[in-house]
Amino acid sequence: MSRLAINGAVHEVDIDPNTPLLWVIREWVGLTGTKYGCGIAQCGACTVHVDGAAVRSCAFPARAAEGKQITTIEGLATNGVLNAVQQAWIEHDVPQCGYCQSGMIMAVAALLKVKRKPTDADIDGAITNICRCGTYQQVRAAIHTAAAKA
């Protein structure tokens, strides 16, 4: 049994401890907002926070997250109030198909914790998530909006 603290709740799961955190979150805990895209930490669709830092959970063994606070897209809002990044995403109508956006939002939320007012170059360096619909222009605008309000 592994014990994982996800969005403030502790889950005991019967897994091989090498199981990637992504699949534990999706299939054992049942939170499906975190997405599978590549399985090799390339695309970022699976991004969650582990102790506040962005982690690509498809290549992050669950055992490495034991004893730490895991936050998924479902846990990003506080008492029902959307995070500034989520609000900016709505303001800018960012998502198209939306599949990559959970990971995109989690990556940006983590960036804004360490870089309150990121420049375009900061964004290019830190936000390497893949979006095939090509929402990058709206993502960039929404990041600046979220940063301005934070």
Binding site: D16, T19, P20, W23, R26, E27, W28, G30, L31, T32, G33, T34, K35, Y36, G37, C38, G39, I40, Q42, C43, A45, T72, I73, E74, L76, A77, L82, Q86, W89, I90, D93, V94, P95, Q96, C97, G98, Y99, C100, Q101, S102, I105, I123, D124, G125, I127, T128, N129, I130, C131, R132, C133, G134, T135, Y136, Q137, Q138, V139, R140
Partner: protein
């Protein structure tokens, strides 16, 4: 909660039973009548497109698939516009393909490809909205015992003008559903639109920012098991044997089953367990004769078509060969375009529940009716005993118009009756078992007279036909007309934009074994590169400005020319670009829309390319939602430039070599240029939006690279090219 709720089966049965006497409006539309048709929540539907609740909330039915392109919001805008309802009270739902079938295809075509979602259904959905409005007004007039002509509707409120009495849609919806629908309805002039034509926000954003949107990969059902699959790595090969005993004791594993004759699946409690077991499963393949094919052998095969005697003619006037033979000056170039993978962010997946008398599928699909047909065929059950629940696709780009993954999941579920099974392809399975952008080469020859006038153009395309693979019955005496997208002599779909005295455009079909398919932009992608880069070559060969050179040939093509002029004006073509920045132009027409782009790039001394800005113009006839059009234009550049910069699937030993995003790279934030969009609808026709601007992405950038470096790149992707200045 899913933003696009499905109608329930119970309500559907009620609706189907009541759908007897329809009225033909291009389709057989049952518009209510004496037997009231009821919707998902047991409320009366005013007609097939519109359901109104007592609280005035409006549910608009959407038949086409929303996969990010904004069609769902746009179609809802068109219905709401004619309905004259309160836009803030609108939500949407998908009918299922089975419901459509049972109601004589009341919702028309579900297919969502070729940028057709709005342009090919706008008329009947607007009529659906307008008819519902007239029925609601009639119901209010009946209640007040006044003439309907004295009443009008606005913002979900009906007003009797002489008396000033008002009521709301919600209060009269039940009565409206019983009214005989009007025989004909007039549609509004688009210049009077108040909801359509406006940059309203998408209806489906909220669940996409908090993780609550349920995609196909997220489907949960009681007792659900998950399957991982491995198909023969060589297309055309088969599965010979597998050793299930080797993995049956692994954690979570329930069953190992063949899925068709070329794949094997492991079914487990969780997908990850299935995947781990599948990786350990000994499988023997019968790879077949394709196992020796390589990218080099394919290139050689295509090369034979460049000068072959036999070819299909797509567009011809004058005598190009003779004019070239007599030319004062001749320019010749050979271009090529590689295989590309769709790489939807959500890998292929589907869920199926099979029992002896019914098969239900939950799947991301661009064509629910095609998915239903595959479900019926694979299950062996009649269509009426099957249904498909359309899940919002995490990207489509053409890939989900074909349903190999549905066929597989039904084949698996059929071996486990009563147990729902979710099949998910790993990214590696997805990349190596795709349906790829077809591979082609082109030989371009241009001829000038002694006054540097272009007298002839000969374009010989050699390569793969999509139709020959997906719908050979649609070939015309062997010819694939789709190959000539954007090169046709005329027509509303994809007309050539130049007048050249002697013209010959032909195709020598060469079909390698790699399965081709529709891929955002389809054949326009390479055709626009071949034509627009060669136009740039011709302009330079004639010592003329590329814009002026084109303009002279476009005098009879005013819509093509208008978008080109618009980008030239916005970018300031007549003035120098910023220092170190170089420009390139391209124009093209396809899916009913006219598009053009100007790219601004710089190339460093070391050959590093930076695409600074793209100014793009599109004339789609009508602009239903300008804000969403801008997003589609920007997105189409991300997709098209991904292909230009990195996209290439190579073949070795008969299989695709690239397996994941580490070797099949796509554009990320850092490479995305600033995209400025000019939406310039000229009216009188309906063009598409999701694809057209992708056509001009690559050629505009390639022409700008030539301006910057003097290097003419005729082979993509650019990752294989040295861009250092000559």
């Amino acid at each position: 909660m899913n933003n696009v709720p499905q109608m329930t089966r119970r309500s559907f049965l009620v609706a189907a039973a009541a759908a007897g006497g329809g009225l033909a409006l291009g389709l057989k539309l049952p518009f209510g009548g004496p037997d009231v048709v009821r919707a998902a929540d047991d409320l009366p539907e005013v007609n097939a497109w519109v359901v109104i609740r007592p609280d005035d909330s409006v549910v608009i039915r959407i038949a086409r698939t929303e996969m990010g392109q904004g069609t769902m919001t746009g179609l809802a805008q068109l219905v709401a516009e004619e309905l004259d309802c309160d836009w803030s009270k609108v939500s949407t739902e998908y009918p299922t393909p089975g419901q459509n079938l049972a109601r004589n295809r009341v919702w028309g075509n579900f297919g969502t490809a070729g940028s057709r979602g709005i342009r090919e259904s706008n008329e009947y959905v607007r009529k659906g909205g307008a008819t519902a409005r007239l029925m609601l007004i009639q119901a209010a007039a009946n209640e007040w015992k006044v003439a309907a002509s004295e009443c009008s509707a606005s913002n979900s409120v009906i007003t009797h003008k002489p008396s000033g009495r008002t009521t709301t849609f919600g209060k009269v919806a039940e009565a409206a559903a019983r009214i005989e629908p009007p025989k004909d309805v007039a549609l509004k002039d688009p210049k009077d639109w108040k909801i359509a034509g406006k940059p309203v926000k998408r209806l489906d954003t909220a669940p996409k920012v908090n993780g609550s949107q349920v995609y196909g990969i997220d489907v949960k059902l009681p007792g659900l098991l998950c399957a991982a699959i491995s198909g023969c790595p060589v297309f055309g090969g088969t599965m010979k044997s597998f050793d299930a005993a080797h993995i049956m004791s692994m954690k979570g594993v329930r069953k190992v089953v063949p899925a068709g004759d070329s794949a094997v699946a492991v079914v487990a409690d969780h997908w990850w367990e299935a995947k781990v077991a599948l990786d350990a499963l000994p499988i023997t393949w019968e790879e077949g004769s394709n196992a020796t094919v390589t990218s080099a052998s394919i290139a050689e095969f295509l090369k034979t078509g460049l000068d072959a005697e036999q070819a299909f003619v797509g567009n011809e006037n004058g005598d190009a060969k003779q004019a070239i033979a007599r030319a004062a000056k001749k320019v010749e170039a050979i271009y090529n375009f590689p295989y590309q993978h769709h790489a939807t962010m959500e890998p292929m997946n589907a869920t199926a529940l099979y029992t002896a008398d019914r098969c239900e599928v939950w799947a991301p699909t661009q064509n629910g009716e095609a998915a239903l047909a595959v479900t019926s065929e694979a299950s062996g059950l009649p269509l009426a005993q099957c249904d498909v629940h359309k899940m919002p696709p995490g990207g489509g780009f053409g890939r989900r118009t074909t349903h190999d993954y549905v066929q597989q999941v039904v084949a698996i579920a059929k071996q486990m009756p009563g147990t729902p099974v979710k099949l998910i392809w790993s990214r590696e399975e997805d990349m190596t078992h795709g349906r790829y952008h077809p591979i082609t080469q082109a030989k371009m020859v241009g001829a000038f007279d002694s006054n540097k006038n272009l007298t002839a153009l000969h374009m010989r395309i050699s390569g793969q036909s999509i139709l020959a693979y997906v719908a050979p019955q649609n070939l015309q005496n062997g010819k694939d007309p789709v190959v000539f997208q954007g090169l046709n002599a005329g027509g509303a779909e994809s007309a050539f934009g130049y007048t050249i005295p002697n013209l010959l455009i032909e195709h020598a079909m060469r079909n390698p074994h790699i399965p081709p398919h529709f891929w955002r932009g389809v054949n326009n992608n390479q055709n626009a590169i071949y034509l627009e880069c060669f136009m740039d070559e011709l302009a330079h060969a004639a010592g003329q400005d590329p814009l002026e050179f084109r303009r002279k040939l476009m005098l009879n093509h005013s819509k093509h020319l208008a978008v080109l002029n618009a980008v030239a004006e916005r970018v300031g073509w007549s003035k120098p670009a910023p220092r170190g920045v170089y420009r390139g132009l391209a124009q093209h027409m396809g899916y009913g829309s006219y598009v053009a782009a100007c790219a601004e790039v710089s190339v460093s001394n070391k050959g590093a390319l930076k695409i600074h800005r793209i100014v793009a113009a599109t004339d789609p006839g009508y602009a239903v939602n300008p804000a969403q059009i801008e997003r589609q234009v920007a997105g189409s550049f991300a997709f098209g430039l991904s292909a230009l910069l990195y996209g290439e699937c190579t073949v070795k030993d008969g299989r695709i070599e690239q397996k994941n995003f580490d070797t099949y790279k796509v554009m990320r934030m850092d490479a995305m240029p600033k995209v400025e969009t000019i939406v310039m609808p000229s009216g009188g026709f309906w063009g598409g939006v999701g694809e057209p601007t992708i056509f001009v992405a690559a050629p505009a950038v390639l022409n700008a690279i030539y301006a910057a470096t003097g290097k003419r790149i005729r082979s993509i992707p650019l990752k294989n090219q040295d861009l250092k200045k000559v």
